[in-house]
């Protein structure tokens, strides 16, 4: 994904549909080095001093003083555009926190999702994570598991999982901002370097319905389906299909398109409930056999035509 796929608008750089679909599949969105160097240098001083808490539910425009570091961070066009695309205008602050990992100190966090189990299928919160320094592998950048956000698990109950194929151990340039779906499995890794590592996190809750809030000019781009069909290496063979099923449901909510499905119709197939009566085109005339079929004295109850089986079922 390149930055050229982000469309500029006066309110910020809204996400494209392709990029939004990528978020729905992965549960995260990464914006590399979008915060300028001078702000990153300022952040190290601001974060070291700590940030005063913001009461739960405060609208973002009332949460931070005009001209404050946090306010300017959220007004950066790419940050503002992504935030609007994901949770709409004037989201509420859930909480924020400064995370500091001392050199050679602390332990890795167990893999977890924040707060408590949250199975909303028609809404989601996002967590902004801002990294003011270059983060190396040794500094223990955040571990996250792509595509884990729709798993129904509670907080650290996933702590037994140390490593999953395709996991993302964050290594990034200074000024990187990452947005996470509230359900994404993640955790701070052990800092094995000589450098203190800083991260600033803000959780946002939507205050408007999350539907078509991004730049939808490319809504029917074939790459939308390609992104939504992503398979991640840690998925079990069978559960990987259910992941697609659940992504389709989320995309339907975000777009209002109740008939949306992937090339392999995971949701359509298992929700096929025909109304009474046969489709007129396939109904034989009474007392007269249809071509190639004998007349039936007492026709069986109406049934739907069997959907074509997928080649993927050969797996």
């Amino acid at each position: 994904m390149t930055e050229t796929e982000v469309t500029k608008n006066p309110g910020g750089a809204l996400l494209s549909s392709v990029r939004m679909a990528r978020f729905v599949a992965r549960g995260s969105l990464r914006l590399d080095a979008v915060v300028p160097d001078e702000m990153n240098a300022e952040a190290l001083r601001v974060l070291a001093r700590g940030m005063a808490p913001v009461p739960y539910g405060t609208p973002v425009s009332q949460a931070y003083a005009q001209g404050s570091f946090a306010q300017r961070l959220l007004e950066l066009p790419q940050v503002a555009g992504a935030l609007y695309s994901l949770v709409g205008g004037e989201p509420a602050i859930d909480h924020h926190a400064v995370h500091i990992r001392e050199p050679h100190g602390g332990e890795a966090q167990p893999l977890h999702a924040d707060a408590i189990i949250d199975v909303r299928q028609d809404a989601f919160d996002v967590q902004l994570m801002y990294y003011p320094q270059d983060v190396t592998l040794e500094m223990g950048g955040t571990l996250s598991v792509p595509g884990s956000h729709l798993r129904r698990t509670n907080e650290t109950d996933t702590g037994r999982y140390q490593n999953l194929r395709g996991q993302d151990r964050l290594v990034c340039p200074a000024g990187t901002v990452v947005f996470l779906h509230h359900g994404l499995w993640h955790g701070g890794r052990r800092n094995d370097s000589d450098t203190v590592r800083y991260m600033f996190k803000i959780r946002f809750a939507p205050r408007e319905r999350q539907r078509l809030l991004w730049d939808t000019a490319d809504l029917h781009d074939p790459r939308v389906r390609t992104e939504l069909d992503a398979q991640f290496p840690w998925y079990e063979q069978a559960a990987g299909r259910l992941e697609r099923y659940n992504r389709v449901l989320l995309w339907r909510e975000l777009t209002g398109d109740a008939a949306f499905d992937l090339v392999d119709p995971w949701v359509t197939r298992v929700t096929n409930r025909p109304a009474a009566g046969r489709p007129a085109a396939g109904r034989p005339a009474a007392g007269r056999p249809a071509a190639g079929r004998p007349a039936v004295e007492n026709p069986a109850p109406a049934t739907a035509p069997a959907p074509a089986r997928s080649e993927e079922d050969a797996a």
Partner: protein
């Protein structure tokens, strides 16, 4: 003077390996892994490697790990057939290490 021929008492500690597999078959690919070391000689932790120690569960058996538990196959709860949650195919292995042996050898 009598010669003491009693063999030394082994001091056993357990190493545990948990493998998460792609299907319920023990020879299917590894998709996740965790290690715990009762000898205290290593301290595996979250996010410490990107490559699994074995490609399949059977590969761990071939390397001497003993399977001590396999996840049950439980049908989905009614109404939750399409939900995704924990990894289903969890296999727990162990090795016993003799701490009294000079080389800290694995005994089984």
């Amino acid at each position: 003077m009598t010669l003491d021929t009693t063999p030394p008492v082994p001091v056993l500690r357990q190493r545990v390996l948990v493998l998460y597999l792609s299907t319920s078959a023990l020879d299917s690919p590894v998709v996740g892994w965790s290690r715990y070391d009762g000898t205290g000689r290593t301290s595996p932790t979250t996010g410490d490697s990107d490559e699994p120690p074995y490609e399949t569960g059977v590969a761990a058996l071939l390397d001497g790990w003993r399977l001590i538990q396999a996840a049950q196959l439980i049908p989905p709860y009614p109404g939750g057939e399409y939900d995704v949650s924990f990894l289903k195919h969890e296999f727990v292995f162990e090795q016993l290490v003799d701490m009294s042996a000079a080389d800290g050898s694995v005994t089984g």
